[in-house]
């Protein structure tokens, strides 16, 4: 039973990883690649670690596996945010089919400050 | 005896201080030392006549057979007496000659050191001790020639003398060591007993060449003679002492000393005689070319040295006897002449013989001394020079090639006569002087030396019996290594040698009277300026310098990639060379045990490596480097090294952080090199990588027992109380490594800190900046 659960979790995890891999290659722009890769891979690695926790079944191992999962889950979005932010600073282009860009021109690239949309409430948020 | 030798050095050490205290009388004071030594050495004269010469041994470097051994036989005594006597006179002379000179104290110091070295040289029995003093004489000669060191000419001449005699020194050292190994001892007196051991040894020829080379450089034989005239840059006392009376005779001493061991072979006699005769004629000829008093004297000295060398080459008892007498005569008259020339120079500031004249009035004592010495040098009876020359004729006439040698001797004698006129007569008694300043009369100390030396030459000439038994005979016996009975006489009765002397004298007088004309002819014939050995020396020096520049410019080019390339190519040559000679069981069949993920990882790492190399952007290179690092860590993990994997992961990330923190301050990667350069570097790099692959394959194919691991596996927990064996090794079994390692880290941190924070203030010249 334990082994089966662990095996299934392992396969699910690997599958998500694989999706992340496909995503990073296939998606048309950086932001969507990140959307796929970071998230799917986080989930994937979470499942694999879960599989490990189940597999060994010892409290010490499981607790450490959980701690690692939590750690990955906490750090992955921060990392994604940092990459996305830096991408915007160096003006990595959005996909040509993107429908809206509220962030456009709101970075002061010299001071690395980001203006808030709130100040310009009167303007149309943009797009269609 | 050691005291006698060392006392000179001790005195040299204190000379500048003493001189500073007593500047006026220091010359007289210092002269007491050689005078005392003279007396001391005279005391040996009685003993050496008996069979066994006194020997003194002091332990030094006994394990290499080098002890401070001295012995006093006839040859040594002759030299020691000359050194001490002329030393005393020259030092007195210098006291006045250099009076008021800022560096006079140092001058005395050098002179005393030289005297001591020379004494050591002639007294040493141990070959290496002899060599040491030999080198010391070269060295003190360097300082003395360069005494007037503000002039480039003096510095140049000093260097020249140093290098030429230094070259001889090398030969001497090699020769003496070889002789030492042939004989099994370094004691020269021991060599004498088994001289035949070497004459039939394979190394005989090289040894003779080396020893002769040493002697020839020191005694200014052709083709090494050129340094001596240039050494006339030195003050007159130096020229007197070193370059006529003593140091240049060290080569003669060496040949004489080793004559019983090396001599008496065709090889020896041909070599030494030929060079001696050639030098004799050349020196005599060149003496007529020059107008500078000291240079003229220098060339006649060369000629005289050639004569002595030639006589030693002939090696018959009469030749040896002639050599000894002539050596004594030459020391006396040439010493006197140099001092006279110095006195003239001192008084007038001029040494050009064509501009000097009529000085008798100002310096009568000097003039008479000069005249007397000149007569001796011209071989006019009843001077000792005459006695010597007669013996020389006699020795030559017994030689196989007597016609050639006598002819040469005759030419030399003619030149000597002419020179005697130019140097000893003309400046005082003839012509008008053309000097800027009014000459001032020389004092007692300037007159004492020349007068005494000239007088001695005359006295001994008149009564040669004064020296024949206690000085000349023992010396000749020592050179020949057999007792020689010496009968010296001023008058040998009518002999055709006398005719030669007369002829030489007459012709010499004629040449003297037509000196200007002869000089012009000789100068036009003298080719040595353009391609003589002096030119050779210059060329050699220039060539050395050019070679040095070229090699240094090529090797030390400043291009780091060249340095690295050299290292890599050397490594390839050595490693590849050593691998070529062996059969290499590579065991490539083992490839099949690879697992899929391992293979993927391997390919990935290699691909990332290629990406690192080919990256056009810094950050791409760094990211790829990160992939390589993580990949390596995964290898560690896959093959049972979790600690390593962890550390590698952590270090890789921190390195990335560091790189990133630094890199955005650096410019983007530039491609500086051309394709051909890249290929030039890529080929050796790939070969080197290939060699490493072969090494890994070969070594892993070997079987080996793990010698250390079982012990650690056994003792890690019970004795070191740790279950992670790697960690136990790190903190316990091999904790000292870790100690060193954290030290490295700490130092690196200080380094980084100082690189980032330490900026020197102020605009002083950078110490390292060329």
């Amino acid at each position: 039973m334990q082994e089966a659960v662990s095996a299934i979790l392992l396969i699910i995890g690997s599958a998500f990883m694989f999706i992340a891999g496909l995503g990073i290659v296939r998606m048309p722009d950086l932001f969507m690649r990140m959307s796929c890769a970071t998230k799917a891979s986080t989930l994937g690695v979470g499942f694999i670690l879960l599989a490990l926790a189940v597999h060994f079944g010892q409290f010490g191992v499981s607790s450490r596996a959980t701690a690692t999962i939590i750690f990955v889950v906490v750090t992955a979005p921060v990392a994604a945010h940092m990459i996305g932010r830096s991408a915007y600073i160096v003006q990595v282009p959005l996909w040509k089919n993107s429908i809206i860009d509220h962030l456009c021109d709101r970075y002061d690239r010299c001071k690395l400050e980001l203006g808030s949309y709130a100040h310009e409430r009167t303007d149309d948020p943009g797009g269609d | 005896m050691l005291l006698a030798v060392v006392s000179g050095f001790a005195a040299a050490l204190f000379a500048p201080f003493i001189h500073r205290r007593l500047p006026r009388y220091s010359g007289w004071l210092f002269a007491t030392l050689p005078a005392g030594l003279f007396v001391y050495f005279v005391s040996f004269s009685g003993r050496i006549a008996e069979a066994e010469p006194p020997r003194f041994a002091y332990t030094w470097l006994g394990s290499l057979g080098i002890d401070l051994t001295f012995h006093v036989d006839g040859l040594s005594l002759l030299f020691a007496l000359l050194i001490a006597a002329i030393g005393a006179l020259v030092i007195v002379y210098s006291g006045s000659y250099l009076a008021g000179h800022a560096e006079q104290g140092i001058f005395f110091s050098h002179m005393l050191a030289f005297m001591a070295s020379m004494l050591g040289l002639v007294l040493a029995d141990n070959a290496i001790v002899l060599f040491i003093f030999w080198e010391l004489t070269s060295l003190s000669s360097y300082f003395l020639i360069g005494f007037d060191h503000r002039r480039a000419g003096a510095r140049h001449a000093a260097l020249q003398a140093l290098l030429v005699t230094g070259l001889g020194g090398l030969a001497l050292l090699a020769g003496l060591i070889l002789m030492g190994s042939v004989f099994g001892t370094l004691e020269i007196s021991q060599w004498m007993l088994t001289g035949d051991a070497i004459r039939f040894h394979v190394l005989y020829l090289p040894i003779v060449l080396l020893i002769a080379g040493a002697a020839f450089t020191k005694s200014a034989q052709i083709p090494f003679h050129f340094w001596l005239p240039n050494a006339m840059e030195a003050p007159a006392p130096v020229s007197t002492y070193l370059h006529s009376a003593t140091m240049v005779k060290a080569g003669i001493y060496l040949l004489a000393r080793l004559n019983p061991v090396l001599g008496d072979t065709v090889m020896w006699s041909a070599l030494v005689t030929t060079f001696g005769a050639a030098t004799m004629v050349t020196g005599a000829y060149l003496a007529l070319v020059h107008v500078d008093l000291k240079r003229i004297l220098a060339y006649t000295t060369i000629s005289a040295l050639g004569m002595m060398t030639m006589l030693l080459g002939i090696g018959t008892p009469i030749a040896i006897q002639a050599c000894v007498v002539f050596l004594l005569a030459h020391a006396l008259y040439k010493g006197a002449l140099f001092l006279v020339a110095g006195a003239i120079d001192h008084a007038t500031g001029v040494r050009d013989a064509t501009r000097l004249g009529g000085l008798f009035g100002q310096m009568p004592v000097v003039a008479i001394a000069g005249l007397v010495a000149a007569l001796s040098s011209a071989g006019v009876p009843p001077h000792l020079g005459f006695v010597g020359k007669e013996l020389v004729y006699q020795a030559l006439s017994e030689h196989l090639l007597n016609a050639i040698l006598l002819g040469a001797m005759l030419l030399t004698s003619i030149s000597f006569v002419a020179v005697a006129g130019v140097v000893g007569y003309r400046p005082f008694f003839e012509g008008m002087r053309d000097v800027a300043r009014e000459p001032h009369p020389p004092g007692l100390s300037l007159c004492l030396g020349p007068a005494l030396l000239a007088a001695l030459g005359l006295i001994i000439g008149v009564a040669p019996g004064l020296v024949e038994h206690w000085l000349v005979a023992p010396a000749a016996s020592a050179i020949g290594f057999q007792p020689v009975a010496v009968e010296l006489a001023l008058w040998h009765g009518f002999h055709y040698n006398l005719l030669l002397t007369l002829f030489a004298f007459a012709t010499g007088m004629f040449v003297y009277s037509r000196w200007d004309g002869f000089r012009a002819v000789c100068t036009s014939l003298d080719a040595s300026a353009s391609f003589g050995p002096a030119r050779g020396y210059d060329l050699l020096l220039t060539a050395t310098s050019a070679a040095a520049r070229a090699t240094t410019r090529i090797l030390q080019s400043g291009h780091l990639h060249f340095y690295l390339l050299t290292i890599v190519v050397t490594a390839i040559a050595l490693i590849g060379g050593s691998l070529l000679t062996q059969h290499l069981p590579l065991g490539v069949s083992r490839w099949s045990d690879v697992r899929i993920h391992e293979f993927v990882l391997a390919v990935l790492v290699l691909a990332a490596t290629v990406l690192v190399v080919r990256a056009r952007k810094l950050i791409t290179a760094v990211v790829s480097l990160g992939v390589v690092g993580y990949g390596v860590a995964l290898f560690f993990l896959f093959f049972s090294a979790p600690d390593l994997a962890m550390t590698q992961f952590a270090i890789e990330s921190l390195s990335v952080l560091l790189l990133v923190l630094v890199l955005f301050r650096l410019p983007e990667i530039e491609r500086y090199s051309r394709t051909s350069e890249r290929v030039r570097d890529a080929v050796p790099a790939l070969i080197f990588g290939g060699l490493m692959t072969i090494l890994v394959l070969t070594v892993t194919a070997l079987s080996r027992e793990a010698r250390l691991a079982p012990f650690f596996a056994e003792h890690s927990y019970p004795d070191a109380k740790g279950m992670n064996v790697v960690n136990v090794i790190l903190v316990d079994f091999r904790g000292l490594d870790t100690m060193g390692e954290i030290t490295v880290l700490s130092i690196a941190a200080i380094g980084v800190f100082s690189l980032l924070k330490l900026f020197l203030k102020g605009k002083r010249e950078s110490e390292g900046n060329p």
């Binding site: 750090t75 | 921190l654 980032l756």
Partner: protein, 135 residues
């Protein structure tokens, strides 16, 4: 260059990561880990904090000069090794207490040595990173 998200995240990650680093240090004798990895992880934690909050804040948070950590670490290591010299044994001979605390394993000079290593590694990496960031 401050990101609110990063700085908030690292503020809470720091103690956790330090905990991990001490854990790695103390367990290193029996499981993978030890002074090096522990120190590196600790340093990584502070490095993150430094990127997120800037050097000054990060230095203030650390309280101790990293240079002092280096010196103290080296001293700890050297003294732990020298202790056996006073007992007349060779340098770095392990000296252990008889029973030891349960969790730390037995306390002995090699463990203290490892702590020295930890401090040195921490101090070194932080010295480097702080002085680089200050430039």
């Amino acid at each position: 260059m401050s990101s609110l998200i990063l700085s908030a995240a690292t503020r809470y990650l720091l103690p956790l990561l330090l905990l991990l680093s001490v854990y790695l240090l103390l367990r290193g004798h029996n499981l993978p880990g030890g002074g090096f990895v522990g120190g590196l992880v600790g340093a990584a934690a502070f490095a993150l904090h430094c990127i997120a909050h800037g050097v000054e804040t990060s230095k203030r948070v650390l309280r101790v000069q990293p240079r002092t950590l280096i010196a103290v670490g080296l001293l700890t290591a050297a003294l732990s090794g020298s202790l056996s010299l006073f007992a007349g044994r060779p340098f770095m001979t392990g000296i252990w207490n008889s029973d030891g605390l349960t969790i730390l394993g037995k306390i002995g000079t090699p463990a203290v040595f490892d702590m020295g290593v930890y401090l040195v590694v921490l101090g070194v990496v932080l010295t480097i990173i702080y002085s680089l960031s200050e430039e």
